[in-house]
């Protein structure tokens, strides 16, 4: 069992985190280093396809245990309920109004795929296995939080005649929730991995396994550039909200950890579920909120989940949740 310090240093000195740091520095200093948007989107699709496919193959080769149904229900429960906690904290500890608090809350019930992928990289580096179906949990956790967020937002009085126009879950948002590109690709690749199993893996491995960590490192460079450019948006967000972006993942992570422990996941699985609960969406939920909760300000929720919670989880959170999982598992 590694000490927390060893874990932290090992994480800090991995190419993944270093490339992220390079990106942050370059973005912060306004270097003109930029990865073309198409490449960046392509890399992110690659990560979803690869992580989904590998999860499916893993599930196929290890068989479906009884735990899986429980785990999937847990995932849904976490995504639906975490925003309630987040909302309560935000309304208590910050000055955000109802729509903004609801919108931010929705982000923290959902997940960040890249944080998850970075955590699998962290585990892979240490040869720690995890249950393949955790990937299915990831897919399931992406969107339920959006529904909770919108329900929470209803608490504000609809202002004026236009409010009546937008139904609770418009067709557009429903599509965002159920047919979101990320969810479809992740879930679909998972299913294909499950169906084709090891035969499929023979075909896909040279692309989805071998270069996976290196692609992740390059993607993190790009994430770093984005984060670095948004670091100055901090001030607009306000310190109480920034603080929320740090303690909410800690709280969420611990809840996820205990829940995962309760249903009997392995060390790797516990770490990953903690990461899922701790991480916040910065692609899917912002898009859904912009369409269905336009009163909420994207200049608050995007920098918060992208420029604060994401780096925090990547650098501090992952080794921390893992150390906590080791500690619980070792009890």
């Amino acid at each position: 069992m590694d000490t927390l310090l060893q874990l932290a240093i090992g994480n800090l000195l991995s190419p993944m985190v270093l490339f992220f740091g390079l990106g942050v520095a370059a973005g912060w200093l306004k270097s003109d280093l930029a990865i073309p948007e198409a490449i960046s989107k392509g890399l992110s699709l690659y990560l979803m396809l690869a992580i989904g496919f590998k999860g499916g193959v893993e599930l196929a080769s290890n068989g479906v245990a009884g735990t899986i149904a429980v785990a999937l229900v847990l995932a849904l429960a976490l995504s639906f309920s975490l925003p309630v906690l987040a909302y309560a904290l935000l309304r208590t500890a910050t000055r955000l109004d109802v729509p903004n608090a609801a919108a931010v809350a929705a982000h923290y019930g959902s997940v960040s795929i890249v944080t998850f992928v970075a955590a699998t990289g962290f585990l892979g580096y240490r040869a720690i296995p995890y249950e393949g179906y955790v990937v299915a949990m990831l897919a399931l956790m992406e969107t339920p939080a959006i529904v909770t967020g919108l329900l929470l937002a209803r608490r504000s009085k609809p202002a004026g005649p236009t409010a009546s126009r937008s139904p609770f879950l418009s067709r557009e948002v429903a599509r965002e929730v159920f047919l979101n590109g990320g969810v479809v690709l992740l879930g679909g690749s998972f299913a294909i991995g499950w169906i084709t199993g090891d035969n499929g893996m023979t075909v896909m491995a040279p692309a989805v396994v071998d270069p996976f960590k290196a692609v992740l490192a390059v993607f993190l460079l790009d994430m770093g550039l984005l984060v670095g450019r948004r670091l100055h948006d901090f001030r607009a967000v306000g310190w109480p909200v920034v603080a929320f972006g740090i303690y909410m993942p800690l709280i969420g992570g611990m809840i996820g950890l205990l829940a995962a422990y309760a249903i009997g996941l392995s060390l790797g699985g516990m770490t990953l579920v903690a990461v899922l609960a701790a991480s916040a969406s910065y692609i899917v939920v912002p898009a859904a909120m912009r369409v269905s909760l336009p009163q909420a300000n994207p200049a608050i929720y995007v920098p918060l989940s992208l420029a604060i919670t994401f780096p925090f989880n990547l650098i501090v959170g992952i080794p921390l949740y893992h150390a906590a999982a080791q500690w619980i598992a070792g009890m």
């Binding site: 948007e37 960046s40 236009t162 126009r165 557009e172 790009d222 984005l226 450019r229 948004r230 910065y282 692609i283 912002p286 898009a287 912009r290 369409v291 336009p294 009163q295 994207p298 200049a299 995007v302 992208l306």
Partner: protein, 103 residues
């Protein structure tokens, strides 16, 4: 010389998240066509909007419609409630086109 007909041109710059609603409105009021420049950035009352990466949340679109004056008026009017809470501007100008029946 070719005969020209007077029409209105409407340029709408709007954040991507609202473009679909605007386009549906444009068709609903009876405009016969529109053109979209899918990826423009800009600055307005709501600050700089140019973060194309990651999500469309900070991206604008430019929608151009050529239409008869009555339809143009409808578009201008109905764009107002749709733009509440969203970044966007609506600009009208005079233009001439060739085939009257086409617009």
């Amino acid at each position: 010389m070719v005969q020209l007909y007077r029409k209105k041109r409407i340029d709408i710059v709007v954040e991507a998240a609202r473009a679909r609603a605007i386009i549906e409105m444009i068709q609903a009021v009876g405009a016969k066509g529109y053109t979209i420049v899918p990826d423009v950035s800009g600055r307005g009352n709501r600050g700089v909007r140019d973060e194309g990466h990651l999500s469309d949340v900070f991206r604008n679109m430019l929608i151009i419609v050529i239409a008869a004056e009555e339809i143009a008026n409808l578009i201008v009017e109905q764009s107002q409630p749709l733009l509440e809470n969203y970044a966007g501007i609506v600009v009208v100008s005079d233009v001439e086109v060739i085939r009257d029946e086409h617009f």
